[in-house]
Structures are given as C-alpha cells and as structure tokens.
Symmetry: C2
Subunit: 189 residues, 2 copies
Amino acid sequence: MPKLWNATIDAHRNAVREAVLDATAKLVAAHGLASVTMSQIAESSGIGRATLYKYYPDVESILQAWHERQVGAHLHQLRAVREQAGDTGRALVSVLEAYAHICHARHGGDVAAMLHQGPHMAHAHQHLRTLVADLIAEGVRTGDVRNDVPPVELAGFCLNALQAASNLTSKVALGRLVAVTLTGLRPPA
Amino acid sequence: MPKLWNATIDAHRNAVREAVLDATAKLVAAHGLASVTMSQIAESSGIGRATLYKYYPDVESILQAWHERQVGAHLHQLRAVREQAGDTGRALVSVLEAYAHICHARHGGDVAAMLHQGPHMAHAHQHLRTLVADLIAEGVRTGDVRNDVPPVELAGFCLNALQAASNLTSKVALGRLVAVTLTGLRPPA
C-alpha cells in the first residue's frame, strides 16, 4: 500500500482511539470510574460496539489507556509549569502546588487503585521524582533547601506528603499543605 | 446446647481461624501476597481443604481477614508506643517513627492495593489520624507544633509523607524521613 494510505489509516485509528478515550473521560466524570460500560462508551464515541471491540477488548483496557493518557497529560503539565516558572526556587513551589491540585482532583476507590498499579505509573512516578529531585538539588546549591538529606529522598517525601491533598476540601487547605511540605525542605535552623 | 459447649466450639473455631491466618502470614512472607493458594494454606495450617472452605470461601477473603488482623495489630502497636512514651512530644516522635517502620515493611503490588481498599482500612486510617491529630493538638498547646494549620490536616500530612518509607532501603534514610516530616510541623520562624 502507498505510504499516504497507511498514514491516513493511522490517523483514522488515532482519531477513533482519541474519541473513545474522550468519551470515556466524560462518562467517568459523570458517573464515576466503576460504572462505565462498553455500550455507553460505544454510543458516546459515536462508533459501533463491534468497532469498539476491534480497538479495546474490555472497559478495563480502555480505562487503562485513558489513565495512561491522563498521567501523561499531568506529567506534561508539570513540566510546562516548571519551564514557565523562571527561577528554580519558584519552579519548585509551582510544581508542588500543581501536583497538590492534581492529587486533590483525583478519583478514588477500587478502580483508581487498580489503575495506579499499572506499569505506566512506575515510569510516571520515576519521571516525576526526577523532575522534583532536580529542582530540589538546585535548591540545595542555592542554599534554599536543606543539604542533610539526599534530594531524591526529599522528592519522595514531597510527593507522598502532597497526596494528603486527596482528603482536603478547600483550596486554602491545599495551600497550607504545600506550605507545610515546603517547611520540611528548609535548612535546619 | 450448654454454654460451656458453645464456648468450646467458639474457642475451637477461633483457634482454626488463627491457625489459618498464621499459616497465610508465613506463606505471604515466603512467597509474596499474590502466589498463595487455598491448598497451600490448608496444608500449612494442618486442616483439610474441605474444612478450610467452611471457614473462608477463597484466598481473597483469607487475605482480607489476615490484612484486617495486621492492620489491627499495627494500630494496637502504635497505641502502645503512644502510651509508653510518657510526654506527648516524645510520643509524637515515637508514633511517627513506628509508623514509618510499618510503611517500610509493607508489601507492595496489586494485591496490597486491593487489600488497602477494604472498608477496614478507612476505619483504621480514621483511628490513626485521630491518634496523631490528638498528639499534634497537644504539641500546639505546648508550642512545639505550629498553630497555623489544623491538627487533623497536619496529621494527614505526616501519615502521607511517611508512606515514602516504602521506597527507602535503610534505617538511616527512615530516620531522615521522620526528621524531615517533623520539620514540617515546626512553628514558622
């Protein structure tokens, strides 16, 4: 087959996949992760059930693909926040604030726990830890962050601490959580 | 049936349950959570497979019961640490150190994620948050802990931050994590 034909087919397949994931995202937002069905997804994405099954064998695999896209988008967002922040001190605060907001908005429950066990999460966590550890290492160099704990351990501390955001109900409380976490990074008096 | 007879039956049933959970704990320690089977559990607890099925329908329900016992034991341990520590400042440090060790020793993976979704975990987390929040509130009264963040939020911060212990490989690193977390609780300079 000519290359152009292959490219067109690829583009079509990607468009179908994107439509399926977009429809799933909307259904999840409306009804929660656990109650989404293949029929609903097919109907919402405007494709037949038979076609849907050619792309994904079950709801679980769609949720997995959707979650991978979500996690990828969050990483992309955090990298953009880091780039836009200018100096590294400000970047660290901005990235931690953005991560707290992501944790706050996250879905809970059984399905979320299942999705978070996927191998893509290990990679995403690794990237995130490296992103934060690099900013922390820069803070150690400028004297803004304590130098008595390895930056990668401080990154693990931050990212775990900020997961407390999922239990918070206000933006003010989110701000307090970020402030408390940043206090932990300060050089000992 | 006479009461004594009922009591004897109850004691026997409890003994069987304890034996099953003990055997499961040993198998989990040896082979990991995911690879334990009903046959192995029956053999290790010294009861028949048919008897085992009268007590528990499947491995999942045994793991759930085992995990509930584990979580209960950890809560009991943390309460004992709190009682033995004397003053509340020391108690807060001791409880957080003990919790970091519990998180460090924890099993990971799919099955652990599944077990942690059980309703017993929500209760256990609530008890734990209250235990730590009470110690923090006492620290606020004595001036050792910051008073610009509600104690229950600081407790959530601590308990999430200390879950970073599951990625640490040394006791020295565990000590650093507890120290960093405690820094977050200090009154702002």
